[in-house]
Each structure stands twice: as C-alpha cells, then as structure tokens.
C-alpha cells in the first residue's frame, strides 16, 4: 500500500530531528554542577599569632581572619568548555566571490547588474563617505538577500547543468537528474558528499576520492541531514531536479557557507 505523502513527510521530519546533530555533541539534559572553587587551607591566623602566612599566600586563594570566618579571595572558576572560536560573516566581496566559485562562474545579477553592488549600502558596505567599515552582522536584511541570491544562483545552476555534458556539470556531478533515492541512493549520497565539500569545505566526511559503495555507512550525522533534505524534497516534488535545487539553496543559506 502506498504511504500517504503527509505521513511520509512527518516521518521524514522525525528522522531529521533524530539525527540533527552529531551524537557526540548532544547536549545533556542533566544540569552541569559548577565545580567548587579550590580552597587552599592555611593553618593558623596571623592575627592570632599562631603561624605567619607565607608571602604571597593571600594572593592565592583564601585568608582566615579568625577561626570562624573564611573568605575566598578567588572568584569561582568558570565551567570548563572546549575552546571555541566565534564565527565571522563573509563580507560582500567574499560572498560574491564564493558564490562565483561554487557555481562555476555564476553571479546574482538582474538585467546585468550585480545585486550585491546594487544593494551594497543597504547591506552595510562602506561608502567611505559616511560609513568607513563594513557591517558584518548576520542581520535579517543580509539573510533575506542571501536567500534571494541563493535561489537565483541555484536556479541558474540547474538550468545550466541540464544543458551541459555530465563531465562539466557542477550540481549533478555524481548523480544525473534522472536518479532518485529509489533507483540510485548511493549516487545521491556521493553527490551530496561532493556538494558538502564544494560548498562548505566539509572534509570531515569522506571526500569523493574516497567514495565507494560503503561510503554511506561511513558518513556522519552531518551528511544524514542533507540526505534527509534531498529525500524529503524529492518526495514532495517527485522531481530530483527540484530536490537538488532545494539542496543547493539550503547549502548557501547554511551558516557553514557564509560564516567562517
């Protein structure tokens, strides 16, 4: 019996949630107890004349004013976290160049006018008259126009690829527009691996040089999200071409593309 589309979509959504993040990174629901500050016990009290504190000991952690009070001189240490570098957003020139690179020369243009140039001042590019430094906030305005750009570029890419021979295609490099999850899931996944490397520089998943029949089993949660997206998009549109368009738009709107 054929599964109704809405039920299948819901199941696909559940699947996305289940492998949304790398399992190693899942946040525990258990509250993390902050570590208590280390208290260096100092015997004796200088004011009581029992035992003098050595030079510098006060600077370390605690002091006893008398037998009944103890004051910590050190703040509580922060909860230790793995080092993490905050991301930076690409500036408009970088973004324009990146889009050209990943799309093999396409740019976001309307009537021959590059739209990043048309929208430069709205997107915070300095004019060196009133603005001297570029606004690199990932603002709502930036993300709206990035979305516009991604659709324009991806639709162009698909149209161009459909005209090109297999060897010169960019989006359909390892999977032809006729292949589906049903008839060639492996090729779809290999193509996704290739696109993740092309758009996001994802080298943590197997590169295409390593692609073989066992590749899907070796791929992490990162790839599974994209498999889910492709599968879901193909399911609702019944068109691999539409599904690849959706994947392409998502790749550009993903922070791994426009932030570094």
């Amino acid at each position: 019996m054929k599964m109704p589309r809405i039920v299948a979509s819901s199941l696909l959504s559940l699947a996305l949630v289940s492998f949304g993040c790398d399992s190693a990174e899942q946040t525990s629901n258990q509250p993390v107890e902050p570590k208590s500050p280390t208290v260096l016990e100092v015997d004796g009290d200088p004011f009581l004349g029992k035992k003098p504190i050595e030079q510098g000991a006060l600077n370390e952690t605690t002091a006893h004013h008398n037998a009944f009070s103890q004051v910590s001189l050190m703040p509580k240490p922060p909860v230790e976290e793995a080092p993490y570098r905050n991301r930076r957003r690409m500036d408009l020139d970088q973004l324009n160049a990146s889009l050209k690179t990943v799309s093999d020369g396409l740019e976001w243009a309307i009537n021959g006018q590059n739209q990043f140039e048309v929208l430069a001042s709205t997107l915070g590019k300095p004019d060196f008259n009133t603005i001297t430094s570029e606004d690199l906030d990932p603002s709502a305005m930036f993300l709206k126009f990035l979305n516009d750009a991604s659709r324009d570029i991806c639709f162009q890419m698909v149209e161009r690829d459909l005209q090109r021979t297999t060897s010169t295609r960019v989006l359909f490099k390892h999977a032809t527009p006729e292949m589906t999850m049903v008839n060639n899931a492996n090729a779809i996944e290999i193509n996704l691996v290739y696109l993740l490397k092309r758009f996001h520089g994802m080298s943590s998943v197997a590169s295409c040089d390593d692609c073989d029949e066992d590749t899907p089993n070796a791929l992490g949660a990162e790839l599974q999200q994209w498999v889910w997206l492709y599968q879901a998009a193909e399911h609702v549109s019944s068109s691999p071409v539409d599904a690849w368009r959706t994947v392409c738009v998502a790749l550009i709107n993903h922070p791994d593309f426009y932030m570094y």
Binding site: S139, D148, A250
Partner: protein, 457 residues
C-alpha cells in the same frame, strides 16, 4: 524638580551608597520592592528619530537671530552673522509664532505645529566631526574616537518595549548599534524604501511551500546543535534568519509600495507629497510615509529616518541648498505630525501622535559666521526638536549665547539659562525619552538627568 549635577564622581558615589544600602537592607529583597514600585512602562509609545544629515544651520531653522539685532554692523562684537539677506529663494524673514517660538526662514510647515513642539537650544555636541556627532546623538554617549559606544537609543527603546512587532526597530539611512540589547531589537537597516520593499517580498524564484518548510526545518535543526549554541554569532544569524522569514511571509511590502496604483497608495502619495519618478521612494517624504505606515500598522516600535541630507555646506552652496534642504525635511516631518495627529489610535479617542514621539536632530550645527567662501563650517553647538507623546509643546529650552552662539548651561527643571546648571547634550534629550517611558533607573547608562522642562505633566 531640582536636581544636583550628576557627574561621574557623584554617580559612582551614589552607586556605592546605594550598594551599601542594599547590603544593609537585604539586597535583592529591596531591589524587588523597588522594581515593584517603579512606574509602569508605557507600552503604547512609538518613536521616530529624524536625522538631518551633514550638520544643519540652526540660524535658518531652530535657533534664529533677529537681523535687526544681529547684523554686519555689530557682528564683530556678536560673532553672529545670520546672513539672511544672502539667501537665494527666501525673503529671509523670521517666523514668529503665537506660542513665542521664533524660527528661521526655512522652518517651513513645521512652524504650524509650534504649539506641540519643544525645541532644545544651546546644546553642546562636543565634537566637530560628523561621525562623532551623529553617533553621540544616536547612542547618547561620546564615541571612542569615531567608534560608537553602546547601543542606539532606538535599539534600547525597541528592546524595552518587547518584540511584539515584526520589525521592532527599523532604520532607513541612519546608523544603528546594538551592543547589549536582545537581537530582536537590532535595527533592520536599509538605504531606502525600495530596498525595504524588496526585503519584505518573498524570495524569488520561489521553491514550493513544502520545500520551503523543509529548508526551514533543516536550518532550524542545525541551529539547535551544541556547536551552534556555543556561538553568539550563529545564534544571532539564526534569529535573524527567522526574522527575515517572518518579514516575508506577511506581505508587509504592500504597505510601503507607495508607487502602487491603488487608492490607498494614492492617498498616501498625496498626504505625504511623495514625488514621482524612480527617486521618489528615496525622498524624505517617502521615508516619513514609511515611518507612519510602520508605526500605525503595528510593524515597528522605533523608526529612524534621514529627513534631510547634503547639509554640509562649507561653500557658497550654503546660499542655495542649506535652507531648502532643511525645509524639505521639516515639511516632511510636519506632514508626518499631521498624519499621526489626524489618525485615531486603536479606537481610544487618542491620536497616534499621543502615542508617538518624534525627535529631529543633526550631528552639530554650523558656524554663526560665514567663512571666506560664503559657507559655514562646523560648530559644536547643537539644537534639536521633539514633538508628541509626553512632550510639552510650545516651548524652547536653553539658548545659545548671543556672542558666538555658544552652548550654555540650563536649569533642567525650568529650561532657562542657569550658569549653575548643566549644558544640555544629546544624552539629556534621550534620558527624557527614557523617563517618559517610565525607565527612571538610568537603564541606558546615560548618567544624566532628563530635561524636565520639556516633559508634559
């Protein structure tokens, strides 16, 4: 109400005393009781910040001088040269109003609203640099060099009023900063109404609705990953993405498409005198219409616009351009006031102007003496005007001096010149807005008291 001068030392002293007091009286318990007694925030107030870019000549608008008293015969003593007789396209007459407010020859239609206007004169902008003056007024804090310090007042006010609106803080051709406020209060910045319309339209070419939902699901899931949650910029990006998505799904662009061929837009074009042609949507008139639409349709809490530009007239363009450009901005603001005043606020019997404050400002003014090239250079003396909710109308507080138009200290309670008072600065004006909104604890870290003289009631 009399205030003692609040300088940094006194501020720190009072903080220490307060801190000690809190320690004695139970810390958070007292804080809670103070918070409970704090005035309710007036959620119904909206804000329009109208920036006159380039440094306006206040002799032509907000702070005039009578040529009968200040002229070439005595300008070596007064160091003030109104130069009204040199203006091209104006009779150079002062505009005198029944409320006692006098204006320069280019105040335009704004003078019609004199009974509602509060003008602050003799302000000190403490800079002769465009960026520094502009950022000083926007944030209420002296910049560090050219670098703005703190968040824009528009951002602070948007944050304090919550995130009910789809675009709480909208800014057209005006800088905006958010260093310490929630992300939703960050201004949606655009260089003109056309870009705003474009930003509010759904992305094109379109994917199917279900594919858009899937796209959103994937990006939302990514945003919940621990690596994302560790990064402030990634969290910010996700919130901005959601805001962008919300903006485009509610067809807000139709409210700002002033060149559309329908009766509502035709009426707005007429009410705001929006010029035709491709540049019409970039005009001050279109920006004020946008402000009215954004506020009256519940889209924004604060709107910043550039009411006028090109005022940096160091050369003989002063004779031709300074006045008309200022007047274009004043006229546009006047139409905005008329629109807000004539529109009923949510079936309450109040007008929208009763729930909106408009602040007109520039980065500084221009020298009271013409330079050798027939223009005026930068002067650190400033002025601004306010109108609307909680603002006492028909009043001018402070005064620039009659020799060289220098800033002068005023009594903040009466608004009259008082050598023992404080020189009004942008932060006093912004603190007035904060107090009027019920925020009396210096939440914006302005470290000054408000100008009570322009507060109504």
């Amino acid at each position: 109400m009399n205030y003692t001068k609040l300088n940094r030392r006194r501020f720190l002293q009072s903080s220490l005393v307060t801190g000690a007091g809190l320690g004695v009286f139970g810390g958070s318990g007292l804080l809670n009781s103070l918070a409970q007694r704090a005035p309710e925030v007036d959620k119904d107030v909206h804000y329009v910040f109208a920036y006159f870019s380039g440094g306006w000549d206040i002799l032509l608008g907000l702070d005039p001088r009578d040529p009968a008293q200040f002229n070439s015969g005595n300008m070596s003593q007064t160091r003030i040269q109104p130069g009204y007789e040199l203006l091209n396209g104006s009779d150079g007459q002062l505009i005198r109003t029944s409320s006692g407010l006098d204006f320069g020859p280019y105040i335009g239609m704004l003078a019609q609203h004199h009974e509602k206007l509060a003008v602050v004169r003799g302000m000190s902008m403490e800079t002769l640099t465009h960026e520094a003056g502009r950022r000083r007024f926007i944030t209420g804090k002296p910049p560090s060099g050219l670098l703005a310090r703190g968040s824009s007042m528009a951002t602070v006010l948007a944050a304090m009023h919550g995130e009910e609106q789809p675009i709480p803080n909208l800014s057209v051709r005006v800088e905006s900063y958010n260093t310490d406020q929630p992300n939703y209060a960050t201004a949606l910045r655009t260089q003109g109404v056309p870009d705003l319309i474009r930003a509010l339209r759904p992305s094109d070419p379109a994917l199917s609705r279900r594919q858009n939902v899937q796209l959103d699901q994937l990006l939302s899931t990514v945003a919940q990953c621990p690596t994302t949650l560790k990064s402030k910029s990634l969290i910010k990006a996700e919130e901005a993405r959601k805001q962008a998505l919300q903006m485009t799904t509610t067809q807000l662009d139709r409210l700002f498409d002033f060149q559309a061929n329908n009766s509502e837009m035709e009426r707005l074009r007429s009410e705001f005198a929006i010029p035709g042609g491709s540049s019409g949507l970039q005009s001050p008139e279109a920006q004020t219409a946008m402000a009215a639409q954004a506020i009256m349709n519940g889209i924004s809490r604060t709107v910043s616009i550039q009411a006028s530009g090109g005022l940096d007239t160091h050369f003989n363009d002063w004779e031709d351009d300074q006045g008309p450009r200022q007047q274009q901005g004043f006229d546009a603001i006047s139409r905005l006031i008329t629109k807000l005043e004539s529109s009923q606020y949510k079936d309450t019997g109040d007008s929208w102007l009763d729930h909106t404050v408009i602040v007109g400002f520039s980065e500084f003014s221009r020298t009271p003496m013409l330079n050798a090239r027939g223009g005026r250079d930068h002067s650190l003396t400033g002025a601004c005007f306010l109108v609307g909710a909680g603002i006492q109308g028909g009043i001018a507080v402070g005064a620039s001096s009659n020799r060289g138009m220098e800033p002068q200290a005023i009594n903040l309670s009466t608004g009259s010149v008082d050598l023992g008072g404080e020189v009004p600065k942008p932060e006093h004006v912004l603190q007035t807005l904060m107090f009027n909104a019920g925020h009396t604890g210096d939440e914006a870290d302005l470290r000054v008291y408000p100008i009570d003289a322009i507060r109504r009631g």
